[in-house]
Structures are given as structure tokens and as C-alpha cells.
Symmetry: C2
């Protein structure tokens, strides 16, 4: 049996055993957006880490150093946002091949530092070393959250409204433009490239929502809506119903889909790397939460469906017909 | 100008600028064994991270998964030890090539978990992803220390006694056996291999010493005595005098040096990866500290020299002659 057979999540389930040697004070270990544990203060400590490898997560010739630096931090800040936390310190490990120019490295750190500054995050350490082939960046982020405001994947309940904090599918459309070498000849396509290369972590959105009464579960959309909603459904032992007509897609994505004959719904459902937040909230509080979000950020919080008690995920189309949703997000090891 | 010209430490100095965006509460940023910052409790938070890359830090065919897992955590625990801290949580990111068997991965996690258990460290998270060529492991460790017991590289003062917590040079001798494919036909050589593959972090030693009155600066011996002592000298703006006759070398290293015609002194001075601790202590407290160490661990704390005000490092040989020590430790980018 190999990694291809058990897949990324099978591997994680496998290694999870034996990892908790001192359970006291641990609120979340392996399996949420970030680990959460008590230190000696009032706040809960959050730690998340993401490893980006050349030719797997990025192509050096297709992304500027600045965008790569931005993205490698943004994906971690998004995990802190999904826990309702405030990001505080970042740690950057980098393995550098001979072929990597100093100017490119300077740009990586410029991208990291610009985004860090925006969210008052320090880069406090890391590791710098050599690589024989691929450029590798690992970023770890430390954050904090009050325990009663911490958001997890496992707190959704039947009847909850499902929200997302932004449009879905843009990043995947941007990736397609890169992979297919499509000519980017319109501002709409430029915007999709930017969505892929420079995702914005929803830290402020996460903080506002975490403090709102009635908010229950949360995750960030990194693998794709169907996959990430699947994590909430699995960890909360619930089901979910999503309405196709309510999935928010941008004008840019709609332009792209018209141009290339694609379906916006497919991109919204299984896009990945949008780094919007997906949350659930008690139905009675949902209206107030959406209004507070609109007032704070000047854009809507999208209600896209509801949590059910069916243990299944279903998609309701415009005609009212229901079909099962299968998680189609990324698994690094399973091959089709 | 490239990375080869400025070297690893030149690169670190370069990226250090602009990394501190919110200085309040930060006690140590880039440039010590671990970052140290205040969260909201009484204890100081410590974070360190190390990136191990195949064909740079290890050869997969020459190290068992178990040893690799052990080592990738041990090097981080050693950094926490050098800050005087207690290690608490670990985060493991791993990029896995197709060629890596599931059994090898299981062994890596067995090695990680066995060492984690020994020091009551949880593995609370990480990232699992694919790699196109080399196996890559990044481990980050979170620890804590009382602020008044925290050890740094910058606190040495002229007149301090320089201590180390164990023998020097064994690990490098073990590495030579591996790289030169030498036949390992004696228990002494086996022990050197083990010193290289399964270094023991001096966490208990670090805690005892951090709590002792009179202890000042500390670092772990990862790059080699001359290089790591150089960091203390540089960060503390002092000098150092080391006595060749006082450098502790093991019977195993002496056996190896006789067999292969090498100098134990060279190995002790510039070996690297020993993961013993190098510390300085006020001269008046040194005797008491050494006695307490001997009583607690049943082995000596080695006094190997003293801190001076010369801004230089010198080695005094058996005849009393002094010669400058040049840091000869590892730089990942400078080429000879």
C-alpha cells in the first residue's frame, strides 16, 4: 500500500495517532485550520504552517517573487482567520537552489514583509538553507484568540445558515489562465490572475464574525467549497444543502466562463485557493450577522445554504432539483 | 551579486530589515536560537524552526526514517534548550516525492513521536504535500520560558567561564563515516554514527542551567564550536579564549582519529551538529553551577575557556601558545 492509495487525508489520519503526548491544554490538534492550545495566559495560542514547493504549488517562471512571498504568508493568515484569531508572528523557512537569483529572494521577502506589515505581523525567525533542485518555502504563523471566540470546523448544527465571505472560483480561473498559457487581454482576466497570485486573507472578516453572537463553525476555502464544506460536515457530523443560485461568482469569473465556455458553478464549487471564509451561524442570528458584516466591510456576507441533519451534502439547482455534492478538492497524493 | 557572495549570514542580515512590524512584546527576533515574544501570560513564548532537505541535510538511502524523524525534531528541541526553555508543541511539514515509501514515512513519524513523547511534546499540526524531487521536512517547535531565566547569545561578559554540556566532534566523525562509506566494524564507530543520526537535545540540561544563578549566554552547537562561539562573541561584543586541552572529546572520537589519522582537536573545534549547549557563566558562580550539573546528570559540565574583552577568539594550545580561531562552521551558500 502506498500514499496514492490512502491519499493525503488518509495519511493525516494515520499519523494523527500518537501525536498527542500531553493532552492537557490542547484545544485543537491535527485536523483543524490551526492548532489551538493554552499557554499560561488568558488567550488561546494558534499555530498554523504551510509548505509551498516549486513545481507543485507554484512555477517560478510564472510567479513574481513578490507574489510568491505574499501568497506563502497569506495562506497561513487565512488559517488564523478561519479560527477567528489575530495573527501575530510569522516564521519563514526557505530552501534555495543555486538557480535562484538574489533579486528574486529579495522580492519574496518584500512580498512577505508588505503583507505582514498590513496585518501587524512580525517575521521573527525561520531557517535559510540550500536546495539541490526546487525552491521550498515553509511559513508558520502564531496567533491568538479568546477561547470563547475561537471558531472550529466541528461546531456546525442542523438549521445553521451557511455563509461565505467572498466570491468563489476566481483563483482557480486564474490558475487555468496560467497553466493553459492563455493570453490575458482583458482587465477581467488580470483580476483573476491577481486573485490566484495575491489572495487576501480574511483576517478582519474572521475577527468580526468570531465576535458575533450565533457564529458556530468556520473553515477557509483552500481546497474548494465542496471539499472544505465536506470538512465541516464530517467534523460536525451534520449534512449541508447549498443553493446553486446563491453561490457568489464575480463578474470576472463570469466573463472568463463566457470566453472559455466553462461553467461558473463548477469553479465556485470546486475551485480552491479562494481563501474566503466559510462559516455557519444559528438561523436566528444570521440576519444580524449579515447586516453587521455589510456595515463593516461595505459588501455582502453571502448566505449560500443551510446545515442539515442528513450527513450528506446536496446541491439544489435553479429548478429546485437536488443532487449530491461530491468533494472534488485537491488531494496531493490520490491520482485520478 | 549572488547568494554565494553574501553567504547565509549575509542573507539573514539582509532580510532581517523590515521584519519587525510590531516591536512591542518581542524579546528576540531573527538571530538567536529561537524567537522569543510575550503573549498575554507570564511566560515568554519561544518558537524555532528547521528545514531539512534531502541531498543537502540527509541522504535518504543513508538514514532510516526513524532516525530522520528523530533528528528533524531534535535539532529544534536543541534550539529551545539553548534558550533555557521547555518545549511544548511541534508542527511538522513534509513534502513527499513519489519515490518515498509509506513504510519510510511511518518510520519518520515513529521517530518524531518517540522523541516527542520523551520530552512531553505534542505534535499538534503541520502540512502534508507532494514534492517532485526531494523529501523535505520542516519542523517548528513552540516552547516557553520564564523571562528572567531566558538565555540568549548576547549576554556574555568578559571574565565569564565558557562551559559546554557534552563532548564535541562525534557527530561530524559519524558524518565522515557515512560520506566516505567507511566500514563500521567497531562499537566506537557505531556510537559516532548514532551521535550523528540521533542527537539528543539537551533540554533537561538547558533547564537546570537556565535556573542557576550566574548563567549568562547560551547557544547550541549546531554549526561547530568555532562558529557557534563566534555567534556569542559577535552578539555579546566580547572575545573568547579556548584551551585545547580542555575541549572534551569522547573515547569514540579518539578511536576514530587514531584509526583514520585525524586530529580530535579539529573535530572538536569545527565539527558541528553535536547539539550540546555552549554557555557562559559568571566566574564566581561557575564552580557551583558545575557541581550542580554533575550532581543532576552524573557527568561533568566542561569548562573550556573564558570570555575576554578582545573581540577576538583565540585557542591556547598545550604549550601555552595562542592562535586565532576562525569560524569554520557551515555556511549553506558560500563555496570554498
Amino acid at each position: 500500500m502506498g500514499l496514492k492509495d490512502i491519499g493525503e487525508f488518509g495519511f493525516i489520519r494515520r499519523i494523527r495517532r500518537g501525536c498527542l503526548t500531553r493532552p492537557e491544554g490542547v484545544l485543537r490538534g491535527i485536523g483543524d485550520d490551526a492548532a489551538a492550545f493554552r499557554s499560561d495566559g488568558r488567550l488561546v495560542s494558534l499555530v498554523t504552517t504551510d509548505l509551498l514547493v516549486e513545481r507543485v504549488h507554484f512555477l517560478r517562471e510564472a510567479i513574481s517573487g513578490c507574489d510568491l512571498g505574499h501568497k506563502s504568508l497569506a495562506v497561513n493568515l487565512s488559517d488564523i482567520a478561519a479560527m477567528g484569531g489575530t495573527a501575530r508572528e510569522a516564521f519563514v523557512s526557505i530552501a534555495i537552489p543555486d538557480s535562484c537569483e538574489l533579486a528574486y529572494l529579495d522580492d519574496i521577502f518584500r512580498g512577505l514583509q508588505d503583507l505582514a506589515r498590513k496585518y501587524a505581523v512580525n517575521i521573527l525567525g525561520g531557517d535559510t538553507t540550500f536546495s539541490r533542485s526546487d525552491l521550498v518555502i515553509n511559513v508558520a504563523v502564531y496567533g491568538v484568540v479568546a477561547e470563547n471566540e475561537m471558531l472550529t470546523r466541528s461546531a456546525a448544527r442542523p438549521g445553521d445558515v451557511i455563509f461565505c465571505t467572498g466570491c468563489l472560483g476566481d483563483s482557480r480561473a486564474g490558475l487555468h489562465l496560467i497553466l493553459e498559457g492563455a493570453g490575458v487581454d482583458a482587465p477581467e482576466l488580470d483580476a483573476l490572475l491577481a486573485a490566484h497570485r495575491r489572495p487576501e486573507p480574511h483576517l478582519h472578516e474572521g475577527r468580526l464574525l468570531a465576535a458575533a453572537p450565533g457564529i458556530r463553525a468556520a473553515i477557509d476555502v483552500s481546497d474548494g467549497l465542496s471539499s472544505d464544506l465536506g470538512h465541516i460536515v464530517e467534523e460536525s457530523r451534520v449534512g449541508a444543502r447549498i443553493y446553486a443560485a446563491k453561490l457568489p461568482t464575480s463578474d470576472n469569473l463570469n466573463f472568463f466562463c463566457r470566453r472559455f465556455g466553462r461553467s461558473p458553478l463548477d469553479y465556485a464549487l470546486s475551485g480552491g485557493e479562494d481563501y474566503t471564509l466559510l462559516l455557519t451561524a444559528a438561523a436566528g442570528d444570521a440576519g444580524g450577522i449579515a447586516a453587521a458584516f455589510q456595515a463593516a466591510f461595505g459588501r455582502p456576507l453571502y448566505a449560500i445554504g443551510e446545515i442539515t441533519d442528513t450527513a450528506r451534502m446536496e446541491l439544489v439547482d435553479d429548478a429546485g432539483n437536488s443532487a449530491p455534492i461530491r468533494p472534488t478538492g485537491w488531494d496531493h497524493f490520490k491520482r485520478p
